[in-house]
Symmetry: C2
Subunit: 121 residues, 2 copies
């Protein structure tokens, strides 16, 4: 049950205001089709990293616009970046994505579970 | 490897524009701390369902504001609703959450995987 363990690690104890506040910005950053596609492009790039020059091809967007979306992803902790010579290279933060996946899995799993404070009527 | 199968079902073939466009609205709806907490409250309610009257307690928000957030979640397919007498009862759509979790897991898992079209230099 390693998946369940991951789930419990993620939000065992419920969706507290603090947890909701820490996860919402990353989910908000993911809530844009261009950014989801960019994550997919970066994740699938050789070696798991890419610069704007590598990934702008499939997008009908300017490089500054793509750079802006990558910056939003970086500020949300979903990608990391490293400057090398002229270009900034981006890498998907797979740990952050896995944690968000666990949060959503846990919400799905908890639906209708009996609670310890439930009283039979 | 049932988890991996779920992942492959979710986005095997990559993050296409169509898939990104279909998943982004739900992730955007999740990108709000109040809505995440509401999902947690509804999911953990006895029987997995709740009306505004049940869940407004922990929130420092009016019932109309909470109803608005629940409507956003419903329009994004993350909860379903059913009117019974005076109240609308909400239930978390655990399938939708599980699918989004699989999408994010897949993105995390694909990072740096060798691609079939990669050519050794």
């Amino acid at each position: 049950m390693s998946n369940q363990e991951l789930v419990l690690t993620a939000i065992g104890g419920g969706m507290t205001p603090e947890r909701a506040g820490s996860w919402a910005p990353a989910l908000k950053a993911l809530g844009d089709p261009v950014r989801l596609r960019l994550l997919g492009e970066v994740a699938a790039s050789p070696g798991g990293e890419a610069c704007v020059c590598d990934i702008s091809g499939p997008f009908d967007l300017s490089q500054p616009t793509i750079s802006h979306h990558l910056k939003v992803l970086r500020e949300a902790g979903l990608v990391t970046s490293e400057r090398r010579a002229t270009w900034v290279y981006y890498r998907v933060n797979s740990d952050a994505l896995a944690q968000l996946a666990a949060v959503l899995s846990d919400l799905a799993a908890v639906v209708g579970e009996p609670t310890s404070c439930e009283v039979a009527e």
